[in-house]
């Protein structure tokens, strides 16, 4: 009998939901029953709510089951798991037909969950390295032009056009230039960078090599947050294998061109996601934010011209070089071209990674994909764009997901994190947390950020405990203005955004005294 291929994902989410135990139980149970299976540890499809999502290869395509726990294995096998039968309560049918997946438009995450993340042959069989092969035939300006044509804007938060950044570095004369990948992904509610690194690491490597060819850089660094040890291990292994196969190193695919890549681990500092703080950290220093100018594109790592891009920006590049910038730009809304990777999280029934053309309405994502709150209670507030993003009340849920619509309505799209809260949320407590987070994570360079956030926590506490409430509400507004005006980077200048949105849209939450047990406290 031919061994049946069974897939059990191996990314952080699947593992956190018990995928290793499921895989082990499956092997044991199959052996006991004398069944031949070939276990593949694939990446995740991003349907976190279905993890561990077990798949079985059949002549009719891959059949999905989930979320599977170890106790389900015997009954799944009894009911024809290995033949792909659909009798079991956990059977989801053809994976490709699961509406939650089928209704997405996947440019960047086309391979995620389908392939074994570390298998080069899987990567090659699914369009891998085609963008790089094409880039090797182009001159530097032609590569940059292709990225410009795609309309790609940085996915790290600032949405700066990637092609223009690359042009600046290309035009900067220097012996040594660098490509730095920002994989610090500190925003709560986001995990797309992690999924690239754990589920399709060669795509990031390919994007960085192309960036190197485009601007004339021969060394790259991936700065990964220390909270992602699995991402670091996956990347390290992928880099070794890519080197052995000539996709990295001194002679890329026998072209005579070179590019070297190294993973560097961060050390638990949110501010090191800010690009100049990140560069300081890479240089072995405290992560203090630098004054700009000079831009990193002119004087970046070790003073050399440097491309700093988010993981998702670089991960979009192989598609763009392979299929063409126009193919990428074809979808989207207004000046937001291509696809947006949203990460649906918090109090949500069906959370996970959802890649869609820019322009879908927020409500549609939360309802059609998310299926409402996990608790079943009414949805009350949504924080989009990480800890520096606004809390949106229902009146803003019909905003289309694109940069201009969001910024035009005092909202932040950022890295695409959507965190849903039900009606048990206390928005004054959330506002307090925003200030507290800034206090913990400020790099300390500017007084309004460092001291302002400390004062902010105290002032919110006084408001909540009804001590001079009106005066302190006025003081909080003033404090926010000072932080906006007097901070060097967005940590200090954007912390007021979630605070002020909570004050504006949920004022009543600031007028009641919290019960003593549910008190938030500082770490």
């Amino acid at each position: 009998m031919m061994a049946v291929r069974v897939f059990v994902p191996c990314d952080t989410t699947a593992l956190a939901m018990g995928a290793d135990d499921v895989a082990q139980r499956l092997l044991n149970e199959a052996e006991q029953r004398g069944l031949a299976i070939e276990l593949v540890r694939n990446g995740s499809r991003g349907a976190c709510w279905l993890e561990p999502l077990v798949e079985v290869e059949t002549p009719d395509g891959r059949q999905a089951y989930g979320p599977v726990s170890t106790e389900d294995i015997p009954s799944l096998l009894d009911q024809g798991l290995l033949e792909g039968k659909r009798e079991h309560a956990l059977a989801l049918g053809n994976t490709e037909d699961i509406a939650w997946l089928a209704n997405q438009q996947r440019f960047t995450f086309a391979r995620a969950g389908i392939t074994d993340p570390l298998s080069l042959s899987d990567y090659l069989a699914h369009d891998g390295f085609r963008g790089l092969e094409r880039a090797l035939t182009l001159d530097t300006q032609a590569i940059v032009d292709e990225v410009k044509a795609s309309g790609l804007r940085g996915r790290g938060g600032a949405a700066f056009p990637t092609g223009i950044k690359w042009q600046t570095v290309l035009d900067a004369p220097a012996e040594q230039k660098y490509i730095v990948c920002n994989a610090d992904e500190g925003d709560s509610g986001t995990f797309a960078d992690r999924m690239v690194m754990e589920c399709d690491p060669y795509m990031l490597i390919e994007g960085m090599v192309i960036a190197g060819l485009a601007v004339g850089a021969t060394q790259g660094y991936i700065y990964v947050r220390s909270e992602y040890p699995l991402s670091c291990r996956m990347l390290d292994e992928a880099i070794l294998r890519a080197e052995a196969a000539g996709y990295l190193g001194d002679n890329l695919r026998d072209s005579g061109r070179r590019f070297h890549l190294e993973v560097r681990m961060g050390a638990g500092a949110y501010i090191c996601g800010e690009e100049t703080s990140l560069l300081e950290s890479l240089e072995g220093k405290r992560g203090l934010v630098r004054f700009k100018p000079p831009l990193p594109a002119i004087e970046g790592l070790f003073g050399k011209p440097t491309v700093v891009n988010n993981v998702l920006s670089l991960a979009a590049v192989p598609f763009i070089l392979d299929k063409g910038g126009d193919a990428y730009a074809e979808v989207g809304l207004g000046r937001s071209r291509g696809t947006l990777v949203v990460q649906l999280a918090g109090n949500v029934k069906r959370g996970g990674l959802i890649e869609l053309a820019f322009g879908t309405r927020l409500r549609q994502v939360m309802e059609d994909f998310g299926g409402g709150t996990h608790s079943g209670r009414p949805l009350r507030a949504v924080q989009v764009g990480g800890p520096l993003g606004a809390y949106l009340p229902e009146s803003q849920w019909d905003l289309p997901l694109d940069y201009e619509s969001f910024s035009g309505d005092s909202a932040v799209l950022g890295h695409g994190g959507i965190v849903m809260f039900d009606d048990s949320v206390d928005m004054a407590e959330q506002a307090r947390f925003s200030m507290e987070f800034c206090k913990v994570e400020s790099c300390g360079k500017c007084t309004p950020c460092r001291i302002g956030s400390t004062r902010g926590v105290e002032v919110v506490d006084r408001i909540r405990h009804n001590q001079n409430r009106d005066a302190n509400l006025a003081l909080l507004e003033e404090l926010c203005e000072t932080m906006v005006d007097g901070s060097l980077c967005a940590m200090g200048s954007m912390t007021p955004i979630p605070v002020q949105s909570a004050l504006t849209h949920f004022p009543n939450d600031f007028l009641r005294t919290p019960d003593a047990n549910a008190e938030g406290e500082s770490s």
Binding site: T13, A16, S188, T190, M265, G268, G284, G287, G346, S523
Partner: protein, 167 residues
């Protein structure tokens, strides 16, 4: 996460020598030392400073800037609790209170028997399956009080066995 409290300067020097040729070597060196010893002993600072031609104050400044680096030995097990928004939305604050209560310690502290250290963390990247904690760098999703108590039992049992073995 095995924290050997014993360390030697030769061990530290080896970590340094393996990495000091790298541009911006300090963070990789600090990671390597913490990886091997479990923390960054005060006594290693002069060795690092000398090898990298930096002042001790500079090394201390870098260590203290980053939450990840520890200057005291951790417990046998390190539990991190996510305090960030997506976990808050799923009852993370109550879970955090339960865990502190159960362990009888606050963040950045270690239980009296040296068994478990507790740390705050801001997002573990598993925000669609909140709330989350990690135990020795392994993330556990959809955590709740009951589930935590079971994990805690498991850890305590393991600790007990370890102590018996040592004796």
């Amino acid at each position: 996460m095995s924290a050997s409290i014993e360390w030697s300067s030769a061990q530290v020097q080896d970590s340094i020598d393996a990495l000091k040729h790298k541009p911006g070597a300090l963070l990789p060196i600090l990671h390597a030392i913490q990886q091997h010893i479990g923390y960054i002993p005060d006594g290693s600072v002069p060795i690092i400073a000398k090898s990298l031609n930096l002042s001790r104050a500079e090394i201390h400044g870098v260590i203290s800037f980053y939450h990840h680096f520890r200057t005291t030995p951790p417990g046998h097990h390190v539990i991190q609790v996510c305090r960030a928004e997506a976990c808050q939305a799923m009852g993370g604050r109550q879970l955090e209170a339960h865990i502190k209560d159960r362990l009888g310690i606050n963040h950045h502290a270690t239980t009296a028997d040296g068994g478990i250290s507790l740390e705050a963390v801001y997002c573990l990247g598993n925000c669609a399956c909140a709330p989350n904690i990690s135990v020795n760098e392994r993330v556990h999703g959809r955590m709740n009080n009951t589930h935590f108590d079971a994990l805690f039992e498991e850890i305590s049992d393991a600790l007990h066995t370890q102590t018996l073995e040592v004796k």
